[in-house]
């Protein structure tokens, strides 16, 4: 009971007096996490119907998923597009963030705003806009088209993450290297890049995830044999509910948790950029 009467903050409010806050916060955190995790037990259900908790257990939905050409092909597409988006958005994002960070030019602020527009423009507009434009040049249903559109979505995130990394890095180290005769390129790769590597890795992982989880653009510009996992999942959710989705969802939750945890724990201790 000692803890109960101890002050919890500078206002001398006690932990006891704050009990309601702790309880409420616990409930809200449960509400946040539970719906994300509930798909895991559901995926092991034996039932055709959506029931929770499942009455009997089985692996049939995983078998269904692994045995389906449609789902396997979509998974391969999603991974391919995600990885390619990562490979496009990360270097482009690092280059842009570095340039905007180093340059003293007047236009940097305007350029930054322009580069983060994909975050501001409603995705539905990007989706129908690219769908229309791709229709003109025959890029609908192509991997390249989807990668390009997803890269635009991932760029602002990559730029913001890398800029945060650059802010906590002392640029004069690079200047020292240059004054000792290194070119800017060499100084960047030898001195700056190793020190902002965690931001760059984070940017890469988030770029992958942005693409992998993206739904709306995929609905419009991906199709045929190049349809993504999310496109098929959306159709399945809207029209009929196939419990295979629980198995796929579980795999997606595991994937995003793994990426999130690696971002949290790979980063330098005490400085999470």
């Amino acid at each position: 009971m000692n803890w109960w009467n101890r002050p919890a903050a500078d206002t001398q409010i006690t932990h006891g007096g704050r009990l309601w806050l702790y309880v409420l916060s616990a409930i809200i955190m449960l509400l946040l996490v539970a719906p994300t995790l509930i798909v895991v037990p559901m995926s092991f259900s034996d039932s055709q119907y959506l029931e929770f908790p499942p009455s009997t257990w089985s692996l049939r939905w995983y078998e269904e998923y692994l045995g389906s050409t449609k789902w396997m092909r979509a998974t391969a597409t999603s991974f391919q597009v995600g990885l390619l988006t990562m490979l496009v958005a990360t270097p482009l994002g690092v280059m842009a963030a570095y340039a905007l960070f180093v340059s003293r030019h007047r236009a940097t602020k305007a350029i930054f705003l322009l580069l983060i527009t994909p975050m501001i423009v409603p995705v539905i507009l990007i989706a129908i806009g690219t769908f229309y434009a791709y229709g003109r040049v025959g890029m609908n249903n192509t991997i390249a088209g989807l990668v390009l559109a997803h890269s635009a979505l991932a760029l602002p995130i990559a730029i913001i993450v890398v800029t945060a990394g650059l802010r906590s890095y002392d640029l004069s180290q690079e200047q020292v290297a240059r004054s000792l005769g290194a070119t800017r390129t060499k100084a960047f790769f030898l001195i700056t890049l190793p020190q902002i590597r965690f931001s760059v890795i984070t940017a890469a992982l988030l770029s992958f995830l942005t693409s992998f989880d993206e739904v709306i653009i995929a609905i419009f510009v991906s199709g045929g044999t190049n349809a993504t996992l999310t496109k098929h999942m959306f159709a399945a959710l809207r029209d009929y509910i196939d419990p295979t989705i629980a198995a796929i969802s579980t795999i997606m939750v595991i994937l995003s948790s793994a990426l999130l945890l690696s971002i949290q724990f790979l980063g330098p201790r005490g400085n999470k950029n």
């Binding site: 500078d10 206002t11 001398q12 702790y22 916060s25 809200i28 955190m29 946040l32 996490v33 994300t36 509930i38 798909v39 959506l50 929770f52 482009l92 994002g93 280059m95 842009a96 340039a99 905007l100 340059s103 030019h105 236009a107 350029i111 983060i116 501001i120 423009v121 995705v123 539905i124 507009l125 990007i126 129908i128 806009g129 434009a133 890269s151 635009a152 760029l155 730029i159 913001i160 993450v161 945060a164 802010r167 992998f212 989880d213 739904v215 709306i216 999310t230 999942m233 959306f234 959710l237 809207r238 629980a246 969802s249 995003s256 948790s257 990426l259 999130l260 949290q264 999470k272 950029n273």
Partner: protein, 303 residues
């Protein structure tokens, strides 16, 4: 560059300085040119397609300039209903996020940073989980024989299963869940920046904890809350997936209508006009946000 040249020709004595300046300018441009590849992507995916839609929205049936696509919006009652639904869903979701997000952000901001980082995972895990997965989870939780109905009937809140999904209720629950991290992250960041001494001083000057909170802490946290709310509101305006799945065709927001127009009538003019209205509403809200305070820092909650 031109100025450097002019300087150099005006006085021969400063030739060396001018050359250095020129080299500096060239260096500046070569560094800045690194943004070009990123800019090309943005131009190809955002600027060109958006300009095209903008153009299409002003194209009449006869192929000339016309406002008929916009005029249609003021004429038909169905459009009016869609705008009302969109604003209703966005406002209610934002309010729900404030009600749930403020206490949690406050709780997290009071914890020592190490513990806050651990509990923060509860916010970040859903944030980075596919929204399709979360929408699906709510579909299961909220169904007639779902866990929520069963629980409520066992406790005695209601007797027969009530319809919680494929309607407005389900949409709001799902949207609030998806949007909550977008409110909590900037709000938490703003709260962390509040000077601890403020509360100390308030207590020292005789304010009880409740007074100190409402008269000192809350006003200081307001900018963060406004920023988070505006982000949530703007994201809600353009939302598509959750209303489409959890609304069961009964909750039609602007984005859903845009898709419906394209799927059923293939009317690019009408769809584009609706898109332009959505874009204007979004930009206007964000402009307000930018005026309230510096926006880019709060946008991602990690500056």
């Amino acid at each position: 560059m031109a100025r450097a040249d002019a300087d150099a020709s005006r006085s021969g004595r400063h030739l060396h300085g001018a050359a250095l300046k020129r080299q500096h300018t060239r260096e500046q441009w070569s560094v800045l040119s690194l943004v070009v590849p990123a800019l090309i992507v943005i131009v190809l995916i955002i600027l060109i397609p958006l300009s095209w839609l903008f153009y299409l929205s002003f194209l009449g049936d006869n192929g000339g300039f016309s406002l008929e696509n916009y005029h249609k919006m003021t004429q038909y009652k169905s459009y009016y209903r869609i705008f009302v639904t969109t604003f209703q869903v966005s406002i209610l979701t934002t309010l729900a996020c404030i009600a749930l997000g403020y206490p949690l952000a406050f709780f997290l901001a009071q914890l020592p940073p190490r513990w806050a980082g651990v509990f923060m995972l509860a916010v970040l895990l859903p944030f980075w989980t596919s929204l399709l997965v979360r929408t699906y989870a709510w579909l299961v939780l909220l169904q007639k024989r779902g866990i929520l109905n069963e629980f409520a009937m066992q406790v005695g809140l209601w007797e027969t299963p009530i319809k919680l999904v494929h309607n407005m209720t389900g949409t709001l629950i799902g949207m609030a869940h998806i949007m909550l991290p977008f409110l909590i992250l900037p709000l938490y960041n703003a709260m962390r920046k509040i000077d601890k001494d403020m509360m100390h001083a308030a207590a020292n000057l005789g304010a009880n904890p409740i007074n100190a909170f409402w008269r000192v802490y809350f006003p200081l946290s307001l900018p963060g809350m406004v920023a988070g709310s505006l982000i949530v509101f703007v994201l809600c305006l353009g939302f598509y997936v959750t209303p489409a799945v959890l609304g069961g065709g009964r909750v039609i927001m602007v984005s859903n209508q845009i898709t419906a127009i394209l799927e059923n009538q293939f009317d690019w003019g009408a769809a584009s006009a609706l898109g332009v209205v959505l874009l204007v509403a979004t930009t206007f809200t964000l402009y307000l946000a930018a005026r309230v305070f510096k926006f880019d820092a709060a946008l991602f909650g990690r500056d």
